[in-house]
Amino acid sequence: MPNNDRLLSIIRGRCAEAVIRTDDYRGDATVVIRPERLLEIARVLRDDRELAFDLLLDVTCVDYLGQQPRFELVYHFYSTRHRHRLRLKARVPESDPTIDSLVPLWVGANWLERETYDMYGICFRGHPDLRRIYLYEEFEGHPLRKDYPKEKRQPLIGPGSKGTYKPRPPEIPHAHRVEGMLGAELMRVQLGPSHPATHGTVRIVLDLDGETIVNADVEIGYLHRGFEKECESGFYYQAIPYTDRLNYSSAILCNVGYCMAVEKLFGVEVPLRGQFVRVIGGEISRIADHLLCIGATALELNAFTPFLYALEARELAWDLINALCGARVTSNFVRIGGVSADLPEGFAELCQQNFKRILELVADAEGMLLENPVFRARMEGVSIMSPERLIAYGVTGPLLRAAGVDLDLRRAEPYLIYDQLDFDVPLGSQGDNLDRFLVRLTELRQSIRIVEQCLRLIPPGPVDVDDPALRLPPKGRVFNRMEDMINQFKLVTEGPKPPPGEVYFAIESANGELGYYLVSDGTGKPYKCRARTPSFSNTQPLAEMVRGRLLADIVPTFDMINMIGGECDR
């Protein structure tokens, strides 16, 4: 475990007068600072050799309605060199909700700050392009503020409505505007929102000079459905089905992350067998996710047959998930304090049988693709980005590992039982699309290896914690004992009530670091439930990756980023 005391004393030493207080709750180091000193402290955090916080994971805000000052900006940092984490908080008043932008230090802060502006109305001084990111310009109010009612209706906009709608051409920030090579005007092309060669609803506005991309602007938010607002209005356990819909191709991993964050708030750990079952479910999900990514990439590069093989393999992985939790996509498998069901009978044999066929099909898909000259020409050497730049964008997961950075949370900060398992973390050497593809292929095989080990090592015992404050008692006891009946009623109608406090917990999901930041005020509903999703940060560098390349290079790059709409737009 990283030494938080030492970390906090270094920060206090470096910038003593800017720090208001520091604390260390449940292993999360937190520093509260004066908002006007943010930029200065952030520079120290990034550049100091002992701190070296090079990865800005998340920017968000908590609305403490009724308190002064009202808004609390929350930043999460990670150091890829020292493997430690830090949370930075600064309060700004409602009358002047302004704070310095971190874009000059971390380019990845751009979208994160736009989202905070969109949802809370915080203004970032010095931000190059402070527009709404999910919602449309005519939207009234900021939906994640506590005084914004969930049921509020927005006026209709569009042609024919009474509002102030004016159709306007999409604008790109024209920092990179250049004259075309032939002296002609650039051509504006809209890729998406629903394009056959991009999986996921996203619009990319391109300025083309011939076939070369001069400017690109990625527009997201077509799948925004208010995940955080919805979580804040329900009990802790009612958010679990919603986490399924973040990354819908690996739902169990999203469940695991959320439930472990809530357990961290409580300070409990599930029994060993429960941890094994979570790893098994999560890794099968990861297999399904990588299979979809590989298959869809093949399809969008016009290779239809490998796509069918990969999807057949994914279907087999989904059959395993179906046997485990009763649904293929929306698994809703993990519970706070355990899992919804133990492994079914004969699950090990079913796994063995399906994995054998999955490996055959993956080998077939791989055999068709890797030597294929068309596939190679579109993948090799395309969209290379340096590891430093990727980290500045906040990219994690296979995308970062393909650039040669050894950052896999299963290895860096082993959670659950990953420290007892034996697996390889694949790294790329050049960081192009081919490396990204190969990293995913290797990870898929390693996940199969992990599940096989787990099935061999899994101990007998309970899967759930026996704690009536967290987990529903078994039905047999509810029928026969009054206390358990009362517990059942209390837990369903009031929800589990964690002690007041805040935690951040991250797992390695199929696309990178999936973190949940939860603030509890002691009631059964989360005061703030924030999901730091990898797709959001990973999609951001797309514009820079494809700038100066050909139009056709967007498709493999976008595929390898593997943007999942549900996770990116939440």
Partner: protein, 187 residues
């Protein structure tokens, strides 16, 4: 820690002149793989043991595992009545508020019953939290999934539509419930 890092092996670059030969070989290899799949499926068809992965729904249906979560239904007891006592826990637990219950009382042995029990299937997301919350094992997930309707109103299922005899559930979902929730067999 037993993990280690490995660098992925990139295939050799496709430079000419070997690249041309390898491209040709890749085409042949692709055809070999595809035809192997074809012959496998063809022999499966000839031998009457189809290996084709797709299922011809609705003529053919998959055998679902006991854990399968279809639509939530109400358990109907031997006497034709529901087991539900209208406590309202499922209504509390439902994240999408798709359940509506109006309780009433009778002179029967179980004196409370739901006068109205509606589930709006267009909002239900088959998450199964109602089944978990139910203290009577009266609302359970079934293996039924066909909820299509011609109108919005048709997606609201009333108590009479939701009642499913215990006999049918005993062979589908109940084995999973008994195992997972450690509940005793029905009386």
């Amino acid at each position: 820690m037993a993990t280690r890092t490995v660098t992925v092996q990139r295939p050799a670059p496709m430079d000419a002149p070997q690249g041309v030969v390898r491209s040709g070989a890749a085409v042949l290899k692709g055809m070999w793989i595809a035809s192997r799949h074809f012959w496998r499926n063809f022999w499966g068809f000839v031998r009457g043991k189809p290996t084709v992965f797709t299922v011809q729904y609705p003529e053919e249906r998959l055998q679902q595992p006991p854990a399968f979560r279809g639509m939530p239904v109400l358990v109907q007891m031997e006497n034709g009545k529901e087991r539900c006592v209208a406590c309202g826990l499922c209504e509390w637990a439902c994240p999408t508020d798709c359940i509506t219950i109006y309780p009433a009382e009778t002179d029967d042995e179980i004196e409370r019953y739901p006068r109205v029990f509606d589930i709006d299937m267009s909002r239900c997301m088959f998450c199964g939290l109602c089944e978990e919350a139910c203290p009577e094992e009266a609302i359970v997930m079934s293996h039924r999934v066909e909820i299509a309707a011609f109108s919005r109103r048709g997606t609201v299922w009333h108590k009479e539509d939701l009642l499913v005899p215990l006999r049918e559930l005993e062979t589908t979902r109940f084995p999973h419930i008994r195992r997972t929730y450690e509940s005793p067999a029905a009386e």
